[in-house]
Symmetry: C4
Subunit: 123 residues, 4 copies
């Protein structure tokens, strides 16, 4: 199989709204990194978060198994520290094997939810 | 004519909301892969879907004729199996000739529909 | 000055909703190709539209002057033919000098307008 | 550390809506350039704005410190001149060291806010 993806990705615009119109899992305000590992080896992934006025936090560690996808919510990260809400951040994602990373946000501060999604920047 | 596009594309973030505020075709919650074949040869396209906790499903097969565009709804795929709703997935798209692929979602769980669109990742 | 951009761009997902909640120019449903010419020579741009079940239409011709930006609404194209509403299409954009192209849609079928924007695919 | 990003970026589609449903900082209509500097040297960044029918304006100058992110609102730029509202513009961003740039808009003309975000075009 051909290699699908890159080993380093960057997401410049991170922001988890602190408010949600609903606490239902699908509709709570959240950000996610959707990571596709189309290859035959597990991907060991480390995530580092960057902030405006303090040192980077990380690494967060996660595995994306071979031939699987993982839609990871930044809301769920808590080791070494939870991701602060209502705070601008960026993320650098490094994988042991090529993956594809897409970034999305569901903003439900408003009853009319708003979505955005972009392919992360491949380094 | 110059070649427009690539032969392999990846969409990391797939998700078809199971709810829709309307069953009107244009407004039902859906995801689409918009595929442009600007060349003079038909594109034979195969799509493989990746999931969180089970093996990939596919290939789905579709033709994009020469000098045509195809806005394919993932909702309409059913061979070898329909795409589950409310379920995270990813897609790898392989074409016999260069094409351009864009991914979009219309989320109409809410009366205020929400749209997103990204160019897929060219491999 | 360094060259900013590419000479060929593709937009796979085109669709102008036929309905608008308002006929105010800023809020009518529309699609635009935002073209930046950061260089010192005028850009002569030709646009070809591709459809699902008929031959391509074009070229549409437009000039983006040196050191200017042009936010061109597809709604306003009419030579050689207007762009049909509620119809899937794609576009290939060719320029005599490097430009940067971004594609956007404002969908105001619903009182809660929805926006999307993506950088076009650079060929 | 590997270099993350590029030194020149372009945003073709700029537009700050002049209306906002709320004057709350988080919800006022705005555009931002989110700039990640994952390296160990400060990034000295200059921004030039391009318009439809007048000469470019700039440079605007800003620093993104080493290992920090800066989510810069175009609304806040005022030297050499504020960014006009309800006006199409484009931006070219040049940095002394590699950075990653993402562009976003929050449109709150409507009570149902609408978001968009794209990775800027890396030159």
């Amino acid at each position: 199989m051909i290699e699908v993806g890159r080993k380093v990705w960057a997401i410049a615009e991170g922001y988890i709204p602190g408010q949600s119109v609903s606490q239902e899992h699908a509709l709570v305000s959240h950000e996610a990194a959707c990571m596709l590992n189309a290859g035959n080896e597990d991907a060991e992934v480390t995530i580092t978060l960057f902030f405006t006025d303090r040192d980077p936090v990380g690494p967060y560690r996660v595995t994306v198994p071979a031939r699987r996808t993982l839609h990871l919510r930044f809301n769920d990260l808590d080791d070494p520290a939870p991701v602060p809400r209502d705070t601008s951040y960026s993320a650098v994602i490094v994988s042991t094997v090529p993956i594809v990373v897409q970034h999305s946000r569901l903003d439900s501060r408003n009853p009319a939810i708003s979505l955005l999604s972009t392919v992360a920047f491949p380094v």
